[in-house]
Each structure stands twice: as structure tokens, then as C-alpha cells.
Amino acid sequence: MPNTSVVIKGTKDGLSIALDPAVPLGDAANELTGRLTEALSFFQGARVVLDVGPRAMSESDWQRLQGVLSRSQIVLHSVVAEDEASRQAARAAGLHAAPPPARARPAQSRGAHAEVHTEGILIRRTLRSGAAERHTGHVVVLGDLNPGAEVVAGGDVVVWGSLRGVVHAGCMGDQEAVVCALYLAPTQLRLAGLVARPPDRGEGRPLGPEMARIRDGAIVVEAWDRAKR
């Protein structure tokens, strides 16, 4: 399948590039090169964070990726790696490296939050253009959230359908709030104090359910299969 080993998302602060750890580095680097040339103007001047997940990276691996990026005039802001040795290698290559803040299982990473008995509401219909729902707790929509509709929630927002409108989860500042949808293609997404919108030049359609959350001070969107791990 094309374009699956590299996931690029717009965030409040810039762009995050995530490499699928299951794909050999050479292949991922090649795909990255292709993706960057496809949308060169979009990347230029952007603040970019590279996420390698659990992949073990040597100093020369980092340099290789840096080479790919610098050929497109992209300067890495920082990198994220789960593996401490990989982070050290990144620092040796002159990069700012950080561990993922919430890479572990959601139940652990979200700590007490996941278990807190927060109230929620279930909306069993499609929210069409012009509809606006506000709730201090969690909101579950059993239907679509269409362009022009809006949900603002103190807690999480789950859309069991297509999310094409505007959602603000954790509107009272909850950094752990998440937004999940079977088809996540929002007009705009807000988590706590962060705002993200999909890149103007679309990356195509989401291929399956996804979850958005805050990671490293930026909104990150991941396939649900991956996010739930």
C-alpha cells in the first residue's frame, strides 16, 4: 500500500512526521523523500517533529534522515524516540530528542483520568450543519458530525461515524482529552488549548478509525490500531 509508512500531520506548532517502525529504514527514508517532493512548498519553513516510535536508531540512521530532510530544506525542530539509546544517538547527531510522553497503554498513560467517573452524553443522531453541542463531560456521537456542525466538550469526544465538522475536546484545559472517530477528517480540531487543522493539500482520506491527542505539546493523529497500543 502506498504512503503508509510515513504519516505526516499538521499540528499547532508545525508538522509531525511519524515513521512506521515496522518498515525498514531505507524504505521509510525513500517514501519520506517522495512525500517531501510531492508537497515541497507545504513543508518549507515549517517546524517539524520526527517521530520514529520504538525503532532502534543509530547516529548514522539519524544522519540519513536528516539528509533526506535537509535536501528539502527542512530543519528538524526535535525528534521523538521511545528507545533511550536511540535518543542518545540522536543527541550525538546534534538533534533535540525527547521520549514520547504517552506512548504506553492508554489506561496507564491517561492514569486516573481514564477511570475518573466523568459524566457524558450520547447523541444518537447525525449532527448536521448548524448544530452545536456543548457538554462539560464526554460526548459520544452515534452518527456523523458534518461540516458546519460543532461539538465542544470538557472531556473526550468520540464520533461513531464521520467527523467532518469542528470538535473541541478538553475545552477546559484537559491535556489528556482525546478525539476519536471512525473517519477523522475535521474542518478543525481543538484539544485543550491547541488548534489543528488538516493540511491544505490533503493527504488523502483516512483509511480507518483514528484518534487525536496531545503529544509533546502538539496534536497528533494516529490510526486507532496504533494509538490504542
Binding site: R125, L127, R128, S129, G130, G148
Partner: protein, 272 residues
């Protein structure tokens, strides 16, 4: 007893009046007795599209205010003996009528007609509310443009919360060549968002402009593409299962399209 069908859209200029005139014509050609009602008070033009402007003596507001009887205000079509127009007032504003008046008026029309088609004004204000109040069914018209679809979605939401029967959709002014180039939303894109039953697809067709200028609805000429499309919609309103031939050449789309298209025969009993 007539079926009262309101044709509405949210966004203006997408083809409500064109559709009302043509569906009225197509249904009357099939032997139904049809009244088309112009609820766009202050901006009437259904009479112009049907070429009946010069026959107007009384209008809808006159009927509501008791200035004349309903029968006096109904204008018989030039061509089809079973087709009648109830024109809007040109000079009044839409607050001259309220939803209760429209319900009462349509209840009177129901007794004499098989179909009452109401041409709604654009928007979601008073005029729209008047037009929708008496409806048994609503047809929402959109063009395959993001802004028109957005407004159609808004209308569908309002109809759902008013607990009207789920409306059906007509997509107007589709240009297959633009869809093919990826420059226009296709039917599946529109249906994915609106998720209501598709009643018809009317292509962009210059013969609409020409026939509108002549005051002859294009449906009179079943050879034009738009005329054919309106004929098909009329048949679907009568409960026929009509495939969507407009889409035979759009490869790959058909399978998905069919998934959305359920035929739901209406409760129509032929007048005897």
C-alpha cells in the same frame, strides 16, 4: 387526497423553481392532477417559468386574506389540462402569510388534487417555514457545490428536528465532465455527507435556460437530458423503480451509488 410536497434548498438559486415547474409538468403529463404553489412571496417567478405570468388575477395572499376563493386564484396551464398554478403575490412581503394559513390552504387543495407541489423561497426564515409547514414530504435540492451541500445539510437537520419525514434529495446541475476531471463533487461525495435518499440527478443543461426564457418547462420535451431527468423523478414520486441512467458511464460509481438508493414507494392513490 393529495400528496403535499415542498421543494426547498437552503441556498438560493440552485433550481427549486425549475424543479417545481418541471415536476408539476411531468406529473401532469402522467395523468395526475397537480397544483403548483409559489410560496416565494415577494419574489414570485414560478409563473414566469411556466409562461403563465400574464394570466394572474388573484394570488396566494388574496386567498389567505379572503379576497377571493381558491378556485379563482388557480390558473390553468396552457398546455396540460390537469396542471394548475397558485401564484405568489408580487407586491406583498412574506409576513402576510403564516404557517397556519398555508396548512389550511393546502388542506383545501388536497381535496381536488393528486399532488400539491410547493416552491419554497431560499433560506430558513419565515417564507421557508410557511412552505414547509403543510408538507407531507420534502424534496431538498442541491447543486454539487460545497456551499450548497452545507446549506442543504442545515435544512435537513431542521426538518429532522421538526420531525418531518426524512426528505429526499435531488442533485441539480451536475456536470459529468467536471466530475470526471475531479473538479466537482460527485454524487457519492454529496450522499456521503447528506446521507438521505437520492430521488434524482439533473444534469447541467442549456435547454433549461432556453425553455425557461420561453416559459415552457423542459420536461415537456422528454428528449432533453434535463427533461428526461425530471420525468424520471416524477416516476419515482409515483413509486416506480427507475434506475439512475445518468450514471451508467461514471465507472465504479454505480456500485456505491446503489447502496444509497432505496426505493420507497409513496402512499399515492390514483384519483378516480
Amino acid at each position: 387526497m393529495a400528496n403535499v410536497i415542498t421543494i426547498t434548498s437552503g441556498k438560493g438559486g440552485v433550481g427549486k423553481t425549475t424543479a417545481t415547474a418541471n415536476l408539476g409538468t411531468a406529473l401532469a403529463q402522467r395523468g395526475c392532477k397537480v397544483a403548483v404553489v409559489d410560496a416565494d412571496i415577494g419574489l414570485r417567478n414560478l409563473d414566469v417559468v411556466m409562461g403563465l405570468e400574464n394570466r394572474i388575477v388573484y394570488d396566494l395572499v388574496d386567498v389567505v386574506e379572503g379576497q377571493c376563493r381558491l378556485r379563482q386564484a388557480l390558473i390553468k396551464d396552457k398546455r396540460l389540462p390537469e396542471l394548475y398554478l397558485l401564484p405568489a403575490a408580487q407586491t406583498r412581503d412574506k409576513n402576510a402569510v403564516d404557517p397556519k394559513d398555508m396548512i389550511k390552504l393546502c388542506d383545501q387543495l388536497r381535496e381536488d388534487f393528486d399532488f400539491v407541489l410547493i416552491d419554497s423561497p431560499a433560506g430558513i426564515e419565515q417564507g421557508y417555514k410557511n412552505a414547509v409547514a403543510p408538507a407531507d414530504q420534502v424534496i431538498v435540492i442541491t447543486t454539487p457545490e460545497v456551499s450548497a451541500v452545507r446549506d442543504a445539510d442545515r435544512i435537513i437537520g431542521l426538518l429532522e428536528s421538526a420531525e418531518k419525514r426524512s426528505p429526499r434529495l435531488v442533485i441539480n446541475r451536475l456536470k459529468p465532465s467536471m466530475v470526471k476531471r475531479g473538479d466537482m463533487m460527485d454524487t457519492a461525495d454529496v450522499l456521503e455527507i447528506l446521507a438521505i435518499e437520492l430521488l434524482g440527478i439533473v444534469p447541467e443543461d442549456d435547454s433549461i435556460v432556453a425553455s425557461t426564457n420561453r416559459g415552457e418547462p423542459v420536461a415537456l420535451n422528454g428528449k432533453t437530458r434535463a427533461g428526461m431527468a425530471f420525468q424520471n423523478i416524477a416516476r419515482r414520486l409515483l413509486g416506480d423503480e427507475v434506475p439512475f441512467p445518468e450514471f451508467n458511464n461514471a465507472s465504479g460509481l454505480l456500485g456505491r451509488l446503489w447502496g444509497f438508493v432505496r426505493s420507497r414507494p409513496i402512499d399515492f392513490k390514483a384519483r378516480n
